[in-house]
Symmetry: C2
Subunit: 375 residues, 2 copies
Amino acid sequence: MSHQALGTDTRPAPGLGRVATQLIRLYDDAEPLLLTGGETLAPVDVAYETYGELSPARDNAVVVCHALTGDAHAAGHHGDPAAQGWWDTMIGPGRPVDTDRFFVVSANLLGGCRGTTGPSSHDPRTGTPYGLRFPAFTVSDLVTVQRRLLHALGIERPYAAIGGSLGGMQALQWAVDHPGELAKAVLVGVAPRLSAQNIAFSAVARASITRDEHFAGGDYYGTGRAPATGLAVARMLAHITYVSDQALERKFGRARRAGGEGFEVESYLEHQGAKFVERFDANTYLYLTRVMESFDPFADEAAAAARLRSGGTGFLLVSFDSDWRFPPAGAREIERVLHAAGSSVRHEQIASPWGHDSFLLPVPEYLDVVTKFLR
Amino acid sequence: MSHQALGTDTRPAPGLGRVATQLIRLYDDAEPLLLTGGETLAPVDVAYETYGELSPARDNAVVVCHALTGDAHAAGHHGDPAAQGWWDTMIGPGRPVDTDRFFVVSANLLGGCRGTTGPSSHDPRTGTPYGLRFPAFTVSDLVTVQRRLLHALGIERPYAAIGGSLGGMQALQWAVDHPGELAKAVLVGVAPRLSAQNIAFSAVARASITRDEHFAGGDYYGTGRAPATGLAVARMLAHITYVSDQALERKFGRARRAGGEGFEVESYLEHQGAKFVERFDANTYLYLTRVMESFDPFADEAAAAARLRSGGTGFLLVSFDSDWRFPPAGAREIERVLHAAGSSVRHEQIASPWGHDSFLLPVPEYLDVVTKFLR
């Protein structure tokens, strides 16, 4: 198919001030997306943003892959300076992912709820939103769609893929699945696979969502009701795992909430939950947590090593000492496999008190190592 | 009032095989319980069990204080060998709390749901269960009721109080509030106060309960419905914090569940949640988590130290290296204050892979240090 631009095509203004999210149809009935599990999906539309300019040689693309709850809006703002992108610390003129130098592509993931086709999208087979009839997919499928978008933009070989958490998992899976494509990959706050504890936390989040009285087996769209309670509780829980014990202690300690029973940390979590349900779809949460759990690129370590060896991708791994969701041990495990495969790999364990969320924060040493690696 | 025995009075059989829970009225309208917050409560009935024999000098009583979700049934069984007490590893003939030597008293806590007066009890003012009209209370109030029970049993000065988690907090509060009463106190897996992260986890659990469609502002009794979904999710979440990352990894890893989507660790948590809602009341969960959060015996450290100095209680603190709910640092903080107060204190940090739950498990070194301390 010819990739059909569905949305606006406003180019980013200098300095990334005003950036429009664009929509493109990447798969249709004539050429559906073939998923790892064997199912096909069509149509597939992808919401994305770009920053900077593609070089004439088309060799300066950097793909930004978002984490569980991200979206295409990674940098700049849409005319509202309060609505900065989620990785504004990382992306922009003179920043580590330097838009004076790189052409940056940031897409909402397959299965997402921020423009890209996902469980809340219209299912042409039923005439209703997919809900839980949306097919299962994997990190490899996320990469497949990222690559398709790049091809549509005229890019065969991106210079780099970069992401934190599930975003970093995509960069690693890309290097394993498509050796030779990525010159560089930056993996921040990742693990080679989820631990039983990681899965356990997500299991509680999913239980909270699917047992919500308004979940309705996933078919809550158009009912005027949604499993907002379950999703808010899921987010409150997940948020605890994104921040370190010491960060919570420093920020809140045992401060009591003004004018009510309980503590300020409770108000903070409740606020996180309430904000989240305004922007996120519960079914996407279910699917993307499952995607993370299926991630296991080194399940056949010898095969993965052979592919990596042939690929020549250079890796930067960044971990944070206070990250207890994906602790440095996971990055060390990835480092070991990459090293054994003969890959060029550098692992920087950064001191930061903020836990897993550090990957989104302006931690100077972290931004510095990414800057140097991409230079 | 004369303490009125309300229940059976079966003495424990030799070896603690058959133990009946007994019920006693400790406070009534003539002599109500005066709570820390200034409110009064009557009647107050307490469910308890005893093991072993009280010495003629009445100087061999050991008070077992239970944690958040425990009950009076700490040891032996009620004719059902499958229903062993929750601390059978600790209590019995020849065990650390040796029933050949000690008279052991174990009561369901004030506010509980296993026989003792709590939110599910009949409120004589309204003629309905208390629900959220049950008054707020503190660890000091738990201790007040424990002491009243002992007095009813003819005991003025127990030899020791022992408990894990909230149980250990009661033992510490007892020593601070009533100096000179306890010869010994054993505090296992405790902290001098809850951290912001501790509070955060409980806040999510409470949100899950109070937002359950069947919570009905706490007045779900007699409706045939209860906030079972919210309570199950709360338990699933709390359970993750009771066990260590490595224990979950060792037990489940990434094992898939047989015949279904997902992982075995999910089935395990779901089972924990389902079992819990059969035996526990959601309002009690709300109240007792708040009680833990109000615990802060060293808020006025100088005053607490002065009281402890006058009391002469000897302390054993036990922490477990893999306990991330109440890590060894909390026990060290208690140790510091007790030491500064001139108390006799010993802190044993035990290597155990099982996390906070270690306090309930047969960890030989742990049982050994308790045995030696109580000898």
